[in-house]
């Protein structure tokens, strides 16, 4: 049992590839435990995880712009035509 111990530990290079599965809650329970055990002892991977979370939040900041008045007009015209053409 003791022999398995160290070989089961994840290394940083594996951590950065598992991070999305971790955030998506898609890791099997045992793998999740190993992931969290590594995280608890590694400030760099903790920082990396924080950066991934920040990236996701910042990407979420790219918001939909509103329609311009000209486009509203265009879609209104289109809608009337489509309705009129309807069988």
């Amino acid at each position: 049992m003791r022999i398995r111990g160290r070989t089961d530990e994840l290394v940083c290079q594996q951590m950065v590839e598992l991070i999305t599965d971790y955030l998506e809650d898609a890791l099997p329970r045992s793998q999740r435990r190993r992931f969290e055990a590594h995280l608890a002892g590694c400030e760099h991977c903790t920082e990396y995880l924080a950066q991934m979370r920040a990236t996701i939040r910042l990407t979420g900041r790219l918001d939909a712009e509103d329609l311009t008045p000209a486009m509203r007009e265009e879609f209104t015209t289109l809608y009337r035509r489509w309705r009129w053409e309807e069988p």
Binding site: Q13, T20, Y48, Q51, M52, T59
Partner: protein
Amino acid sequence: MPMGLIEALASGRRRARGGSAAADEEGELVARLRAGDEQAFVALVARHHSSMLGLARAFVSSPAVAEEVVQDTWLGVVRGIDGFAGRSSFRTWLFHILVNRARSTGAREHRSVAIGDAAPAVDRSRFDASGAWMAPPQHWVEDSEDRLSAEALADRIHVALEELPPRQREVVTLRDVDGLSSREVCEVLDISEGNQRVLLHRGRSRLREALEEFVTA
């Protein structure tokens, strides 16, 4: 932790999404559209237009063709609204129509849709032989706001998103910009949960890398 940029952005996002109140409003707009209300139509277009354009751009090469795909999708919505059974959300249904049209248009343009690069999330040179960090990530999450505006960060992400391989861009756009769930993304793009995660992982990793380069430059 101070109320920094990230938290401010996150709360702004929650306001923009609006949760179930926004879903109710959308349901009402869809009901009015069924009844032939043109203002409801324009309101729905306004809600989804830029998401749809962004998504269409991942499939077709020019902005003009993307506009056509979006317009064609709305024609399909007007003609097909009676066939919308409400089993999925209106947005999932709408995006699914868009993706089908964008795919057939993209195929006509003979554009190859590759699964994307298989590069590692972080360059191998940053790890030592044992796989431990040799060039670890620098700390920038909270203090970047002191030096960089939210607008500058958003611009950089926007550029990085445009540079992603199409399939990664589709998934990241739908998940992280438009806020769809993983299940909805799979439904819209007809891909498996596993593929969705792989594409999301590669795309998000590239965006993080771009931000890191920008913030620590």
